[in-house]
Symmetry: D3
Subunit: 244 residues, 6 copies
């Protein structure tokens, strides 16, 4: 019955988020030959570029820098990028940015959507991006919404892991095995030169989620010692023909 | 890597619960050639046999009756049965019944476990059964637990749908497509002659969960008009190598 | 002490919502001779009129169509209507629409308010309508708010049942007996010709909530076999002089 | 249809709880001519009799003292008493005490049940009493449960207010107007001589709940300045034929 | 290591909130010689000045009146004030008011922040103020945010107690001993002449929180009989080098 | 006012738990010269000694081994130990073990208590230990409880971090700086020879919690790069005379 080819849409508040939080899922999809598109609502130019500001760089320079890094990282992961340049700190999801995002949905026709959690006490842009991603997805489903393309189906949405998961009410529903593509994710992380201390931090996290993955896997699964994982929450119920 | 053959263990407080709540999942598994084992902790002789009591039947007679019905229903679904006869209203999960259940786990070595929700304001036996099922699963995993057989792996656990879902804090995580096996589930329901009013009630529920299933399915899935569903909650995170 | 005559205000995001979700409560109120006023914030012209769009109708035509249907349904239920034409998909609750709604509150002076739930992952307009309904109610209570009429009292607010209740965190607090007026609700539903598949869906739901109503009723209440119900959540504590 | 006369059953962990927490509801019921029965599972002899222990009294003496106080207070409120003497600190709800409680349910056939909250970090006996009250209620409904009397209907259950409500996850669902019977409640409180500091504490609480009651009442209700209230949570949905 | 002097920033929706809800904390801070700054986003001119409106006063007159009262109360507490005059009922946190608040953060450089809870079914301005306070705090931390002053650290945030705590999901995390400064808080309350009925209400609340404070204090603490308290919730985890 | 010397009581389900989860808090307390007592309800002989069972060791041998390891680890941390030998997998908190624990409370008179979380889907012994610790604490407070020693005060209780925190509903309330004593914790971990893979796992966790600690610390605190942390949840509100 299935005729829509699988494709992944990632809605990211800032230029770097998709790498740390969903790099494994993106690399997995593209390794299977699927299309992956990353939408960066902003460059994170004000709120996530402290090093560049301390070095005295200017706003446009920083935006260009962040864009370049993000493009390199996306290229490593095999993903396309879209930059909506909506501004950050605060990211404000107005009517226009919402409409642009609906158009991306209509064009990409994703079968899976990834975005931020709906709560994050440390960064208001993250939940704003999640709200935009969810709202645009519903609008894109309506035949009456005035934008090019066909109405969207109902792709599942997964929230990727925030920096301080417990404080964001992040309780993993899904542990994704990213062992085979972790080297790719690591290379993508290394494209983000200004945040070198994060490379090891998120490698450690992948190990930690890998340990949990093994402890939650059924009796049949023989995971290797160096299993790496990423954690996600589902926003809608899973639809399946097999409990497993 | 997988060497353990798939098998399903259903832990049911009373003799009829597994039919209404998980009949579709059981029939699906056996239709795929997998083993399914239903453990009835009690016969529901006191709390779920009102008609028989009103007809003046005695305790042992009622237990035999409920057992026979459950065996017929299980046979329709292609499942084996185990009756632990622990008593109901109240079902009390003491040390001995817990040990018996551990032994069933070790013998069946299930790859999937189904049981009741942990809350049910209308029936204290249901959460007691769930607690037993969960506790026995963890005990069976320990090499130091003194019972025959090898330590269990970590099979996923799903809670099936209670009669009044919202009051039991039941929020579906998984919508299972049971369209292909629904006729089998209906036949199994019809084995429970004393509860004829439930046949249509749970057919209607399957339609309702089918409608929701279609609304939550991704764009690729072409479900038929008469799609039937069953709803489940996961107790542990899903482990997977693909987000979908 | 009571001097304000009972009246019901229903705040509905789209033109059809009040029929499926609160038709029984409205018909009950008007059957008792009480006033009922339905405010439709939009016509649901973009998001809930798929059939008309597929038939190639234009925007204004669809709005007129939805309005007509809603007026017929409201007439069946004995309710007045107000159409604020705020637009849907997305419904955006700006300062002006909020002010219009405050004025409706001041004019109607409702003793009971019904609206959507505050969460709905399937439709962002529904929680937006609920937020507007709640905010306008509080504003209308303030003597300093610049609008005609006297400050409002503190009418109780009930959330009616969304399409996928569990996913909207809808846990019924109140089961309303609508048996006597169900035929009226059915006629009102049949005024919404474009959504014929919903007539039976919501009839089945009324049966289901009726079954639950009987199971939660005290020992004294003799409900008939064909009891029909509607489910609601309270937003504020109930005030009473008798526990029952 | 109603044929069962209204009656109130209060399940109290210790001898004094019902006075502080539900005295107004009891006095209201008896003032309407309804029967009210208070079951004290224990006397609170170890955990709630600090003054008597400090005075050097012995265990049996303290139990007699607490019983006498409770009987006086119940008499003021117009209620009957039952003392199950199950022991406190800890109160342990074994099979036997549960059976005794089922028998009380069958005998009283209550139309309303009041008990403690299911959580109380300051006193483990309170939630244990609540669990017993809820479990016995369900057992008493089963025709197959071996105890004298007819099967119980499904009386609503209300949790009364614990000493530190927020810490017990107590969020009031119902604010009960006890203005007319508050003088009676005060006299009942004054029967508990050892806890004189509580008289004013619970009078202040009645004022506070009265203030909230007035702020949550609809526009029609003219409450006096000295309105007194008690707060309750519902465990099951309210069944009604009128939203108000 | 510590070099930033302790200072307290209180973000209050209306002119009076900080007195009833946080007067004790403010007085404690200033009694220790610390700086305290109260930001009143509005004067509460429409929503919290019913008496003045009933007396026929005009809008500007009322704003002046509320400002004067707030200044007197703040002076009693030893705090500075800032009035942003953003309007109330509804308070709308637009981009400009947010920016003004960021600038206050940068200027004050608070080591502790107090504000409203994120939910309040009785007053939409309160959660709006809380959202503004939290968002501005995060923005002020970013070096790239264009406002004078150095980037903020990460001061802890406490929510003060709303009028109907349970309905606002207010569960106290912190009980603050305000016994020594309660007389000052009382004098500050008495500066708010239009709300005389609140003076005793909040004195009673201080007694009640004091009682709870004593019941939650460890064995070492000898609190006096007349202990007074204020309750708070933490938004971020406490950082400490000692569990106590 | 304070006269009770500070002392720490740790209630641990198995012999090793206190090291991984609370070693830093224990070492901090003893480094300040405070007394620390660890109660091991069981040795973890069945459920947490897989390596020994695989090596073919017997039950008593394993218990002795685990005891010895725990004693060494406790000695490194400067803590006393008590072994109640209640059995594990399942740990069953009966009346007798509860009474023993009350007696430990009365003897130690702790000013701070640490134990497991109340939920743990991976290990039923952990919440059972927590329930025992909480129940015994309340019993020990009652003058009427028949055990030697004076009634306990009301020491605060902290839950230490479980192995899979999010699945156990563990949301850190307190981040404890253990930088200065981390070397001691590491040595204590190294006493547990059978679980060598955990040494690095919990070192990584200390780094991770240290990173979070720095991000939640106020502006005044200058934490070093290698800050180490432990995370805790409070069960009762904090009592303090200063918000910070």
């Amino acid at each position: 019955m299935a005729t829509v080819p699988p494709s992944l849409l990632v809605v990211s508040a800032h230029a770097g988020d998709f790498v740390w939080r969903a790099g494994g899922a993106i690399a997995s999809a593209t390794a299977r030959g699927e299309r992956a598109v990353v939408v960066c609502l902003s460059y994170g130019e004000r709120g996530e570029s402290a090093k560049a500001w301390r070095e005295g760089k200017g706003l446009e320079e920083i935006k260009a820098l962040r864009r370049e890094e993000a493009e390199h990282a996306a290229a490593e992961l095999g993903a396309e990028t879209r930059f909506l340049d909506a501004g950050d700190y605060p990211l404000i999801g107005d009517r226009e940015i919402l409409d642009q995002l609906v158009r991306v949905y209509r064009e990409v026709n994703p079968t899976v959507v990834l975005t931020h959690t709906l709560a994050d006490p440390y960064n208001g842009d993250h939940p704003e991006a999640a709200r935009l991603a969810l709202q645009a997805r519903v609008l894109a489903q309506a035949i009456g919404y005035d934008a090019p393309g066909d109405p969207l189906g109902a792709p599942p949405v997964f929230f990727f892991e925030p920096h301080q998961p417990e404080q964001c009410d992040f309780k993993p529903d899904v542990l994704l095995d990213i062992t085979d593509v972790f080297a790719t994710k690591r290379r993508a992380m290394e494209c983000l030169g200004a945040q070198q201390h994060m490379w090891d931090y998120y490698t450690d996290l992948a190990v930690r989620r890998g340990v949990q993955l093994k402890r939650n896997a059924g009796p049949n699964l023989g995971f290797p010692t160096d299993t790496k994982g990423e954690a996600y929450m589902r926003y809608y119920p899973q639809v399946t023909d097999r409990l497993e």
